[in-house]
Amino acid sequence: MLARTITHALVGLDARRVEVEAHLQNGLPAFAIVGLPDRACQEAKQRVRSGITSAELNWPDRRLTVNLAPAELRKEGSGFDLPIALAVLAASRQVTEESLRGHAAVGELALDGRVRPVAGVLAAAEGAKEQGLSRLFCAATSAPEAALAGIEPVPLHHLAEAASYLRGEWQPEPFDEPADLPAPEGLPDLADVRGQERARRALELAAAGGHNLLLAGPPGTGKTMLARRLPGILPPLTRDEALQVTRIHSVAGLLPPGRPLVTAPPFRAPHHTASAPAIVGGGSGPRPGEASLAHRGVLFLDELAEFPRPTLEALRQPLEDGAISIARVEGKAVFPARFQLVATMNLCPCGARGDPAAECSCSTQRLAAYRDKLSRALLDRFDLLVTVPRPRALELAAAPSEASAPVRERVVAARERLRERCPRRTEAADVLLLRAVERLPLSARGHARVARVSATVAALADAEEVEPEHLAEALSFRTPNELAAAA
């Protein structure tokens, strides 16, 4: 007796259709899974058998073979438990195969028959929707995520519910899409940062235009503190962006329970000891790295010069293309990675450079080695370079600075204006830009970046056109300072 269910395996972010065939034959009781299952998937045998018996259903004491087709596609993870269990129930005629038609399934089984959520439900639901399936069995907590794909979820707490549903004895509660949740509270606020007006201005520009920002300066000047306050002034994601981000975070298994849709721009801050694959993605079944997890958000690299150079160079492709393609023998996966890069660094290895009260003890060679880490090509990809000097005592005692909320309002308004119409340069601004290209070591890319930042400056000022003063401000964040000159 043969029965079939449909599920999906993830290849990168794409869901591939997998047919789960269960076949019962006469013979000694045995259970085999074929079709290139990995270890976790192979172990489904024990979970499925216990789950079925715990749900007070019958385990067929016959020779059972489960095939996961196409057989050449590697199957990873525990999400195949539920479809295997349903195929076994259908093959042993405890539910009819007709009742399974139009359904896909994804989920892990507990030994007591409960259904557990797995990663990548959104991608699986989208795959099912594309193939014209109308309903998806999944864990109850995954149901809101599945609903985002526009498919009707069958939220399950327990395998027994699935059996009753398929026999027409039970219907899940009609599923309402949850209302938009408020943005998460408790983000660090800009009011905590005293002084540093220039760096704050750069942060506001970075938020409004989505520009890459490099904060350099001696330690203890608040570079990291400022960078961590960027999420608090970023506008929320659009629905489309939110879906893209959610898909990636779902595949990585990072969605917080109860928040199916990621609405705030992600902020990822990998440590500098992270490997290159951890940052750009990789693995045999490629998984998204930090750069992709930061898609439509911020990738924050604290102490940029401490990262290994190959890791930094690997970031150049996504910075330009907004995507990372990972080639493996079994195929290629493309992960979107359109992130905003924010980084901090000291001006020298000992950190004293730039601090008037300390003397730098770095040798010329050490300094050169430190700066060699950052290729000119990488530095060129920062739109805004700011050197953050040590604040004076006077500034630390100053009245609290502007909080995040009003800054965010300005940022949101500026983004709106940029979306509607990108301000054009006046003739005078064009002349200034040409003069700057002659005088400053501006590459063609640098030229384009200055032009983009100047449009952001104009949008923040609610100006119709980019005036020379807007362009001049954009230029002031790209002047040939120590960093650029040394690289």
């Binding site: 220039r198 201005r201 008037p356 230029l475 002031s476 002047t479 300072n481």
Partner: protein
């Protein structure tokens, strides 16, 4: 540069002792011969020259002063002589090149070497207009004891020597000693008394070196007048206010904002305007005037 010109700039010429410029022949221990490469004629070694030397690990202040002096002295017609080292030396050469003037680099190794390697490109640019010279024939390795000997040539070629920044036991002080022995004028740029970077120059001042307060001090010695400053580009009142504050001393952007009452946006625009006009330069987050106010 065409291939032929590159070839001739690379070609090494030899100057016998009897052909050395007058000033260099007068020193206590003139070199037996001098090797030359570069497109300029050996005659430029006889022109009025000023040596600008100082610390390799100099401060942003030191490098900006060196560049400013290189630029203004070369613009007034002096040949700027230095040692192609990192820091002050390199900046002095760059300043002279910026002004379109003449500059001579004296090496402490074989004439065919570019030492330090990081300044190979600078040496190439010097060769396009000026000269690279050395008393050592090709293939001589750089060695620590060759640099003090090199310094006597730097001091010997110039009628005046300017020390920009020098620590307690700096090579630049050796150059100053040679200059004094040969009876040449020695200028020292005053530095902060709280740091160690200017201990050497400040001691020179205490011993009677002439404090250098502007390029004019050097030009006076040669009886030259400063070349007229490039016509000051009209700057906005906003930029003028920032420049006025910066004339009082180095300041960070936030200090300038407080002093001038400008918002960060317009202030940034004013600073970019000043930087583009070549009046102000930024280093390590702090701004300073690089052209003396006219």
């Amino acid at each position: 540069m065409s291939a032929a010109a590159a070839e001739s700039a690379r070609a090494v010429r030899r100057l016998r002792r009897s052909d050395l410029p007058e000033l260099l022949r007068q020193i206590h221990d003139p070199p037996r011969a001098l090797f030359l490469r570069g497109s300029a004629d050996a005659e430029i070694l006889g022109r009025p020259a000023v040596a600008i030397v100082g610390a390799r690990a100099c401060s942003p202040y030191g490098s900006q002063v060196a560049r400013m002096l290189g630029r203004e002295l070369a613009a007034a017609g002096l040949v700027v002589v230095s040692g192609l080292a990192r820091g002050v030396d390199g900046e002095a050469h760059r300043g002279a090149l910026e002004a379109g003037g003449l500059t001579v680099a004296v090496l402490g190794c074989g004439i065919d070497r570019d030492y330090p390697a990081a300044h190979a490109d600078l040496a190439r640019r010097i060769c396009e207009r000026g000269l690279v010279v050395s008393e050592y024939e090709p293939c001589v390795e750089p060695a620590p004891w060759r640099f003090p000997a090199r310094n006597r040539i730097i001091a010997g070629l110039a009628a005046a020597t300017v020390i920009v920044e020098a620590r307690e036991r700096s090579g630049a002080l050796i150059t100053a000693d040679f200059a004094l022995e040969d009876g040449r004028e020695v200028f020292a740029v005053p530095g902060e008394i709280t740091g160690t970077l200017a201990t050497g120059t400040n001691r020179l001042l205490r011993q009677g070196a002439t404090p250098l307060t502007s390029a004019d001090d050097v030009l006076d010695v040669f009886g030259l007048a400063a070349s007229p400053l490039p016509q000051a580009t009209a700057i906005s009142p906003r930029a003028a206010a920032v420049l006025a504050r910066l004339a009082d001393g180095v300041a960070g952007a936030d200090e300038l904002a407080r002093a001038t009452g400008l918002e960060p946006g317009p202030l940034a625009a004013a600073l970019a305007e000043l930087e583009l006009a070549g009046l102000v330069a930024e280093a390590e987050g702090r701004y300073r005037v690089v052209v003396r106010p006219g």
